[in-house]
């Protein structure tokens, strides 16, 4: 067990629930608050995040361990990671545009938003700090993406219902969204008991 790090299932479960990248680390907040008014769009953006996060975790892992470390370029990792993410997003956008018109219509507008989604860079940095293997990194990336998707869809569902509720002045919009996020964060911490995780 020692030296190998945590198991894949543990990483996935912790990334989706107890260590949700959005609700415990606040990464990806900007698009979370801006694009969580409707469930449909939330699902679209969330799906795009899952895809990009899983893929860039793998690419960044390979780049880091086969390019940056051997050449002692560790200090450039921030630039390289963010460029990889930006380039990948651009590539996906081009491919989707060529291959499937409906998919492009559905996801296209979200893709540029993803480059500046902190969660994706965050996942890349955390996998390096935690010394994950390639498999662990991919699972962590996928788990974090799914966690983000779950959080934003749940949030959008709640906000759709709040549309006609009377909210104290000053609290409507961002204020109430933050309070919901806080309550959700508490609820997600409750999942810890399920597997005895922290």
């Amino acid at each position: 067990m020692s030296g190998q790090g945590p198991g894949l299932f543990t990483i996935f479960f912790a990334a989706v629930f107890t260590g949700n990248i959005l609700l415990t680390l606040y990464l990806g907040m900007c698009s979370f608050l801006a694009v969580s008014r409707q469930v449909r769009t939330a699902i679209g953006l969330g799906a795009a995040v899952v895809f990009v996060m899983t893929a860039t975790s793998a690419i960044n892992w390979l780049v880091y361990y086969y390019l940056l470390l051997p050449f002692d370029l560790d200090h450039l990792k921030y630039i390289v990671f963010i460029i990889v993410v930006a380039a990948f997003v651009q590539l996906v956008e081009m491919v989707i545009e060529r291959v499937s018109e409906p998919l492009y219509q559905a996801l296209g507008i979200f893709l540029p938003l993803i480059t500046v989604n902190c969660a994706i860079l965050g996942a890349a940095l955390f996998m390096i700090i935690r010394h994950y293997s390639l498999a662990q990194s991919v699972v962590y990336g996928a788990g974090s993406g799914v966690g983000w998707l779950v959080a934003i869809v749940a949030m959008a569902g709640i906000r759709e219902r709040l549309k006609n509720a009377r909210i104290p002045r000053g609290l409507d919009g961002a204020g109430i969204a933050l309070i919901i996020a806080g309550i959700m964060a508490m609820a997600f911490m409750g999942f810890a008991g399920m597997l005895g995780l922290n």
């Binding site: 900007c30 921030y78 380039a87 540029p112 860079l121 955390f126 700090i129 109430i176 309550i183």
Partner: protein, 204 residues
């Protein structure tokens, strides 16, 4: 130069146009460290440095940057400044750098920096952009410092690591944990919007 414009920009960034409580931007990377006042201050200084200089650089280059790669260039410039912040921190304040860990790097994706670059630096002169970047950073920082102060005080009974509340104070663990930051920021937005910005927004 046009000092008047600079003053207008400054006042807007600190108050009515504040990036945090009006636009709710840029809380991604820093909110996580607001359970400790000192870490928050260091993060905010890094952010002010990066916003200011990236705004200056992008504004200076604005007529040459090709439209097609605009985002890439902006990201690259921001990332370079953040790496410099990271290196300086590692060399001069290793303990704080270790505590902040990846969060320094995550300044890159702080929406305020990209937001100011896109919304201001691309259409304004370099010097004015520098002022805008720095004041946007300061406007952001003071809000987060208030939140960090309250979270540290209530969550750990300390300010700047020094115990100010005695043993009688029951520490609110929730404040140091994730939900505390959400509630604190929501309260802040509520108070500021409800009290000071009430004349805005027209009818309701």
């Amino acid at each position: 130069m046009n000092l008047k414009k600079m003053r207008t920009v400054t006042i807007a960034n600190l108050g009515r146009e504040n990036q945090v409580f009006v636009h709710v931007l840029g809380i991604c990377s820093t909110l996580a460290v607001t359970n400790d006042l000192r870490n928050t201050l260091v993060m905010c200084l890094g952010l002010i440095f990066t916003t200011g200089l990236s705004n200056l650089t992008i504004s200076a280059l604005r007529s040459w940057i090709p439209q097609r790669v605009r985002m890439m260039v902006t990201t690259l410039i921001i990332a370079a400044y953040v790496i410099i912040v990271d290196i300086v921190l590692k060399a001069t304040a290793p303990d704080i750098s270790r505590q902040l860990g990846p969060y320094v790097g995550l300044i890159i994706t702080n929406c305020i920096i990209m937001g100011r670059a896109e919304a201001f630096a691309l259409t304004n002169r370099p010097l004015l952009s520098l002022v805008d970047g720095i004041t946007a950073g300061i406007g952001y920082s003071w809000v987060l410092m208030v939140i960090a102060f309250l979270r540290e005080l209530m969550g750990s009974g300390t300010v700047w690591g020094i115990a100010v509340l005695g043993d009688w104070w029951v520490k609110w663990s929730i404040m140091v944990m994730a939900p505390g930051a959400f509630f604190m920021l929501a309260l802040f937005v509520w108070v500021v919007k409800g009290r000071f910005l009430r004349d805005e927004g027209g009818a309701k």
